[in-house]
Amino acid sequence: MADKQFKKKISDALDNDVLRGALGRFGDTYIAAREKAYEGYDFPSIRENIVKVKSYAASHLDEMIDQFEKTATARGAKVFRAATGEDAKKYISELAKQQGVKRIVKSKSMASEEILLNKALMAEGIDVQETDLGEWILQLAGQHPSHMVMPAIHMTKEEVADIFSGHLQRVSQPVITELVKTARAELRKKFLEADMGISGANMAIAETGTLMVVTNEGNARLTSTLPRVHVFLVGIEKLVPNFEDATHILQALPRSATAQQITSYVTMVTGPTPAYYEDGSVKDKEFHIILMDNGRRKMYNDPKFKKTFQCIRCASCLNVCPAFQLVGGHVYGHIYTGGIGTILTNFLNSENDAKNPQNLCLQCGKCAEVCPGNLDIPEMILELRNRMGEKQGLPFTQKFALDVVSNRRLFHSLLRVASKAQKPFTKGQPVIRHLPLFLAGMTEKKSLPAVADIPFRDVFKTIKQDVKRPKGKIAFYSGCLIDFVYPRIGEGVISALNEKGYEVVFPEGQSCCGAPATYMGDRNNARKLAIMNIEALNAESVDYVVSACPTCTHALKDSFQDLVKDDPSLAARAAELSRKSFDFSKLLSDLGGLEPGGDGVPLKVTYHDSCHLKRKMGVYAEQRKLLSDTTGVELIEMKESDRCCGFAGSYSIKFPELSEPILERKLNNIEATGAKVVAVDCPGCLMQISGGLDKRNPNIKVVHTAELLFDKRKKTSKKS
């Protein structure tokens, strides 16, 4: 759970209009610009190629390092392997001393930021100058980068002008072209005077000993051309087997990072190159390469995190992250920010430093969709969260709640009590608009749904299923929200599947899918629930298991298998359940969809994609077709239909201050369509979006696809 100080950092970031403006503008344009940059290129196959070469390097790391050292040395480079950041710093300091270095210019190197290299060198009395514009601004301001690719994205031109004015002792105007001109002139002097250059690299080619640097400003070219001593500081994850393998990364890096086809410069250095010395002579320079570990190997040796080697540091995961866009990088607290940064911080700094930022992940999965290295960042963050939960335990209130949920009888009887106890707050409405006292925050910007009078498990017994010559049997897994809040969705599911000729059963022993426990880092309770449901659903006795909540479906299909993998007989049953489990729209569509029908009454509908359904199960076309095939329905696509609504389970309770602005953006996109109904396939999204609309625009209704099909296809209209 996030601590107080962390919460304070979040609220400061949210209050910072400058930050919100800069990040918001970029976030708004990035997705479209990135898509345009990939136009005519097949992103999945580029990604596949990257995965191939990088995973090979990861599995042959020692071989790669040996080969690189051999080839680079053969070309005249001096290669040093630094186990820690301290080793790297010591090597550079000593080299500087030995070479009589007084002035250093650096082109961008996140590895040097990671080990706070500048501080160490400046303590030796050496003048160290960052030359990447963003890095230079931060150096003058005494700040850390907030983004891997655009380090100073959190600052305005006014702030930059103030910093320049203070540093240069003359007034700089907040005009970007002028500020850039000033930087050029100031840093040009530094380049010409420097006796040592330090660079990072984007790739280190084992086959040829080549280092590749991708830049736009030209500082890497100057750094590798002018000074007589050159040091490359390179993390071992930059290794790539063969020269031509670099092609794949060069195809992806600029497109994913800054939506460019290629950067202004790509610089490839193999061994020492000639340089001018002070006496005017031209000789090969003193050339050193440091391959740095500093905690990386520990990360690659961990099977759950080995894939981080495939990261090419494009930062596209930051650019699409709804949470990052709101709070920016500094809230993450360390050098590496955003989703991937949380993971790197955990291994390269400390677990303790990752404890707060890992909470920021919504688990929406957008980053995994755009990642050119095919990293499932949310899964890795979840793994961190669970490990932390196991090691440190959860706070008492969370633990208590999750213990209650994993005790089915207690949990369900409490929900039944709640349906009565809530009466003073519902005022006869299906929603709770205001809560008293400290709970008021939860209903400030959105209403909460009331617990249904009669849970679905009781409604089920009253449903008459009229299936002549049934084709088979389907078990319905309702999940908590359909069971206790939205039972009508369940009626829709049964009606549609009956029409397809299937009888639907409702196994009584089913309970919560365990997602709240999983996403809060409580693997024990998640496992308990997995076993309870595997046994209750008894997949062996039915043809399919259907769920109308994608988070539950993901648990049935994937999480259960992982949670019981150590028990062979349970694992076999979980595998059977996984094979037979489908989300409602997907199953209905696989069974051939519904006969043409519908009441024909015109209805403008827009569709919101649930994160789990689209990105975990790849289902987005099926439900749109089911809806469009219903006469009367006019489907209007909203902008960013697959952007998270901000619910994310307990996230909306943990971080209402982040959940709300994310929801607001969704509501704006919904309103812009002019639709009267928002169709969704996830009861969680339904709860979040309808809660927001109830407060802001109660004329727009949010309806689950199953319920909408049910309503529009009933011969005699039976509106609730």
């Binding site: 800069a22 514009l133 963003g134 072209t177 040009r188 030209g218 070219r221 051309t225 092609t247 410069y265």
Partner: protein, 185 residues
């Protein structure tokens, strides 16, 4: 060599380069290249230029031509002259049509090639049309097939740029503010 293939590659290159604020020209002979460069530089008010004489520059008598147009030509002592020169002229090894990219891949990693193309505010790059390569992949394999990878290989695509302040694109940070590419058939 004005065949259909090179014409097609040239058009692609030109469109890509112009999309990133570069200027693109194409001439038949070395002589014409020198004349064109002189005219373009004159138009920009350039009075002196650092000229690294490549084989095209020599054949086209660039130095003579530029001098006759009253442009000061500096063709040695580059470490001294390039920080203040108004423009630099070099010949590059390849051009990539797919991206509008120039490739510097001198076998000897010539430091003057880099000075004349990096420190100056205007870089004029001369390139043989026949060295146009269709795409990045073929370029990488072409470099890979060389007897050895040159010590310095530089891809240049348009002028130097930054978006580090407020994500606003600004041309000309540490490298050239203008890039002029002249293809010689």
């Amino acid at each position: 060599m004005a065949n259909a293939r090179s014409a097609e590659l040239y058009e692609r290159f030109k469109a890509k380069l112009e999309a990133v604020s570069g200027e693109c020209y194409r001439v038949d002979t070395e002589e014409e290249a020198g004349k064109l460069i002189g005219t373009v530089l004159k138009d920009k008010g350039v009075q002196n230029v650092a000229l690294l004489e490549g084989e095209v520059a020599k054949k086209g008598n660039f130095a003579q031509q530029l001098k006759s147009m009253n442009i000061d030509v500096m063709s040695d002592n580059f470490r001294k002259v390039t920080p203040d020169a108004q423009a630099g002229i070099t010949q590059v090894s390849y051009a990539i049509a797919e991206l509008g990219t120039l490739v510097q891949a001198d076998d000897d990693a010539n430091v003057d090639q880099r000075l004349c193309s990096t420190l100056v505010p205007i870089h004029v790059a001369v390139v043989r049309t026949e060295t146009l390569l269709p795409n990045l992949a073929e370029t990488m394999s072409t470099i890979h097939r060389l007897p050895r990878i040159p010590g310095f290989v530089g891809f240049i695509t348009g002028p130097s740029r930054t978006s580090d302040i407020e994500r606003v694109l600004t041309i000309g940070v540490h490298g050239p503010k203008q890039l002029i590419v002249v293809f010689v058939d």
